[in-house]
C-alpha cells in the first residue's frame, strides 16, 4: 500500500491518499472540529456505461442499469440502508453519467456504519421479485423527472444531439428499458464494474489517527484482491446534424429553453478537464451575469433566468445555454450570433473572472458533502481536486474561431399560443 499526503498551498487543506495494490483507493480528508463524519463509496460505473468488454468478451446492458443497481445494492445479506440508519447514519446514494456513489454521514458509530457501507458490492442480496417491484418505483421516479419542464427540455435536446452515445438517454433509463433489467443483468454489472480498481472510498471529518488506522486494517478482503474490470466503449457519434428547433407544448406561462452545442470529445481525461476550465471562463465572460449579453437581454425582459454550462465525459462534451423566459426565439438568434463571432479579448475581465473562481474554489472547502462530491467526481476522471487552482491560473483563454463549432439544437417547451 502506498501512502501520500497531498497539500493545497492556498487553502492549506490536505488529505492522505492510500493506494492499494488491488487498485483500490482510500482517501482520508481531515476536517477538524466538525460534528459529522462522512464516508463516500463510489464506483466508476454510471448511466453511460452500457457497452464494453469484460474478460475478452463484448457485452451490452440496458439503459438505466447503473441507477437500478443504486436502488438495489443496499439490500445485502441484510438491509444495509436500514441497519446504517438505525445506527444513526443519514444514508443516501446517487448515480451520474459516469459514477455511482453510496454515502452516509454520522457523528456516532462511524466505523460500524462504514463496515456496512463496505459490504455493498460484496454480497448483493436483491431477489428476482424485489427487482420486479423496484421497476415500479423507478417508473414513478422517471415520470417525476418528466414532469420537470426544465429537465424535459434539456434532455430532449441532448437526445437529439446524441442519438447513439448514452449521454443522450435518461440516467434512470426508460419505461421500456426497465423491463429488460433483471437480476442477471444486475449481477453481471456488479461483477464487471464493482471491482477494487474502479472504486474509491473517501472519508471526511474529525478522525483520530487510530480511527484511520483501524479503518485501513479492517478493510474487507474484497478490496485488497485484484479483480478483472470491464472496459466501457462509447459509440462513435455523427457530427453532421443540422441545427434543429425542437418544440414541445405544455400549458406553462414562460417557455423553458436549452440551446445545446455538441463539441468534439476530448482525447484524454486531463485534456477534458483543461477544456472544462477554459470553457468555464469563456462562458462566464460571454454569458455570465455580468456579461453584456446577460445584461442586455435581461433588461429587455427576454429571459427570467439564464445560465451557461459546459459538461463533459468519455465520448462527449456539450455546452448548454438554458433558462426560461418569454422571448425564446429572440434568444435563440442572439445566442447563435454571439457564438458565431465570440469576442474574448478583454484580458482585464478574464483576470477578474479567474479571481472570482479562485475565491469560489476556496469557498468550496466548507461543506463536507461539497468537498466529497467534487473530489469523487474528479477522481473518477483521473484528476486531483487540488489541481484545479494551478490549472485554472495557467489557463490561457483560447479565443480561436472553432470554440463553438459543432452540431447544435434549440429545445424549448412552451404554450401553444406563445
Amino acid at each position: 500500500m502506498k501512502k501520500e499526503r497531498i497539500i493545497d498551498s492556498m487553502s492549506r487543506e490536505s488529505y492522505v491518499k492510500y493506494s492499494f495494490p488491488s487498485g483500490f483507493t482510500l482517501v482520508h480528508y481531515p476536517k477538524k472540529g466538525r460534528f459529522l463524519k462522512a464516508a463516500y463509496l463510489s464506483v466508476g460505473f454510471g448511466s453511460t456505461d452500457l457497452q464494453g468488454n469484460f474478460m475478452g468478451k463484448p457485452f451490452s446492458i440496458p439503459e438505466g442499469t447503473a441507477h437500478f443497481l443504486e436502488h438495489k445494492l443496499f439490500e445485502g445479506e441484510e438491509d444495509l440502508f436500514e441497519k446504517m440508519s438505525r445506527l444513526g447514519a443519514s444514508v443516501n446514494a446517487f448515480t451520474s453519467h459516469d459514477l455511482t456513489c453510496y454515502y452516509f454521514n454520522t457523528p456516532i458509530h462511524f466505523q460500524a456504519s462504514l463496515d456496512l457501507l463496505l459490504q455493498i458490492p460484496i454480497k448483493p442480496g436483491y431477489t428476482r421479485p424485489g427487482v420486479i417491484k423496484e421497476r415500479n418505483i423507478i417508473a414513478h421516479e422517471i415520470k417525476m423527472y418528466q414532469d420537470d419542464v426544465d429537465y424535459h427540455t434539456y434532455h430532449k435536446g441532448l437526445s437529439y444531439l446524441y442519438p447513439k452515445h448514452p449521454v443522450g438517454r435518461d440516467i434512470a433509463g426508460s419505461l421500456e428499458s426497465l423491463e429488460r433489467i433483471d437480476k442477471d443483468v444486475l449481477d453481471f454489472a456488479v461483477k464487471s464494474y464493482y471491482v477494487p480498481s474502479n472504486m474509491l472510498l473517501f472519508i471526511i471529518g474529525d478522525f483520530s489517527e487510530n480511527e484511520i488506522q483501524n479503518t485501513i486494517e479492517t478493510l474487507p478482503r474484497f478490496y485488497l484482491d485484484k479483480k478483472p474490470s470491464a472496459q466501457s466503449f462509447y459509440p462513435e457519434e455523427e457530427n453532421d446534424l443540422s441545427h434543429q428547433r425542437l418544440i414541445s407544448h405544455q400549458d406553462i406561462s414562460t417557455a423553458s429553453f436549452s440551446y445545446l452545442i455538441k463539441l468534439p470529445a476530448s482525447e484524454s481525461r486531463m485534456a477534458g478537464f483543461n477544456k472544462s476550465i477554459n470553457y468555464t471562463i469563456i462562458l462566464d465572460f460571454l454569458f455570465g451575469e455580468g456579461s453584456a449579453f446577460y445584461t442586455h437581454h435581461y433588461e429587455k425582459g427576454d429571459f427570467l433566468d439564464f445560465s451557461a454550462d459546459y459538461s463533459y465525459g468519455p465520448g462527449y462534451g456539450v455546452i448548454s445555454l438554458s433558462g426560461e423566459g418569454r422571448s425564446p426565439f429572440i434568444l435563440e438568434e442572439a445566442i447563435a450570433s454571439c457564438l458565431d463571432k465570440p469576442k474574448i479579448a478583454n484580458e482585464e475581465k478574464i483576470l477578474r473572472v479567474k479571481r472570482r473562481l479562485m475565491g469560489r474554489y476556496l469557498m468550496g472547502f466548507n461543506s463536507l458533502s461539497g468537498i466529497a462530491g467534487n473530489f469523487t467526481f474528479l477522481h473518477h476522471r483521473g484528476v486531483d481536486l487540488f489541481n484545479y487552482l494551478p490549472l485554472m491560473e495557467k489557463t490561457l483563454v483560447s479565443s480561436d474561431g472553432h470554440l463553438f463549432k459543432g452540431a447544435s439544437c434549440f429545445s424549448l417547451t412552451m404554450k401553444e399560443s406563445l
Binding site: S90, H140, E299, R356
Partner: protein, 396 residues
Amino acid sequence: MNYTQWIYKEGFTTKLTSYYYILPLSPKSATLGSLLARVLERGSQDYPTVEAIHDRGDELYGATAYFDVNIYGSYLCFEAKLLTPNYLFFDQPELEEEAHSYFQSLLYRPLLEEGKFKENIFLQEKEMLAQDMESLLKDPESYALLRSMELLFPDSNLGIYKYGDPKSLEQLSGRDLIDFYRELMDAPLYIYHHGDEKRNDEGIKHTLEMDTVEVSLQEEKFEEDRDILQSILVKAYRVPWVYGDTMVYPSLVLNHLLGGSGTSLLFKRVREEKGLCYSIYSRYDRYKQLFLIVSGHEKQQHQELLSTIEEVIDSLKKGDFSLEELEETKQDLCIGLGSIPDSQGRHLKDSFIRDLYAEEKDITKRMEEIKKVEKSDVIKAARELSGALDLYVRKA
C-alpha cells in the same frame, strides 16, 4: 432597534454576514419585499450597473451580496447577506472591510432618481417578478404546496407566499416601493456574523409573538386536474398546540417517525412495501400548527395511497411502534440538531429564528428535550392530529 451577534467558529474558509429586517406581514408587504430584493441587486450609487456589481464582486474574490425575503411565522423578514472568502487565506485581510463597504453600498445607497428607485428598473423587475410568480406553478409539487396554503389559510397571513401575489404586484407603484424601503430601514434588525472573530453581542433583542392560528374542525377535500404525468397528494393535519408548547418536541418526533426520513413508516409502507410512489414525506410546521404529507403517485393508485396513509396514522395513534424505533428517531433528531453548526447558513438562520420568537437556542438543551420524549407523548400527539385538507392534483 438593532441586535448584533458574532458566532465564532474555526475551520471555515468563508465568512457570512446576515441581516434580518422584521416587518408586519401582508400580501402587499411580501410582494414589496420580493420586489425590493430584486431592485437592490440591480445597482447602487457606487455600482450603478449589474456589470459594475459583478466586476467588484470578482475583484473581491467572488464576494456575493444578495437579498431575499422569507416568512417566519406571521412576520415578513427581509434578508440581506454577504458571503466572502476568509481573506486571510489570500494574505489580504484589508479586503474584508472593502467587502462590507460593497455590501453596504448595495443595501444603503440604492440607485435613486427623483427620490424613487429608477423607473425603468422598477418596471423591469415588476414584470420579472410577475413572470417568476407564474413560473413557480410549473412544478407540480410546488404548485400543490402553494395551493394547499391558500386553501388552508384563506383569510390569514399564514397563507401568504413569501414572494407575495400577482394581484398585489399589479397595484404597486414606484412610490410604494420607496416608502417600503424607508419603512424597512426603521424596522427591527438582527445582524449575525459567522467567522473567526470573538466579539460580544451588541444591542437589544426584540422578541415577537405569533398570530393565533384558527383551527377548523372539518377536513376539506379538493381535486384539480393538471397536465402532468404524476398526480400529487397533499394531506394536511392540524394540531392544537402553539410553537412554544411542550408538545412541540413530541410533534417533532412524531413527524420524523411518520415521514421525516428514509426509514420512516410512510416511506417503508408506501414506497418500499407497496411500491406506490417514488417520493413521500411529511413535514411539521410549529408556527402553522400543521403536519403535511406530500406524495407523487399514479392516479389509479390514489385510493390505495390514501388508505395506506390512514393505516400508518392509525398505527401511530395506537402506539404500534417499538421503543427501539422511538429511540432511533430521537437519535436522528438529535444528530440533526448537532449538525447545525457544521453549516454557516443553517447556524445563522437557526440563531435568528430562535431569537425572533425567544425559543430555546442552546442546541444541547434542545437535544435534552428530544431525549425526554416518551412513547405516550408521541401517541398523544398522533391522537390530536385532525384532518384539515386533502388536496389531490390529478393527472388530467
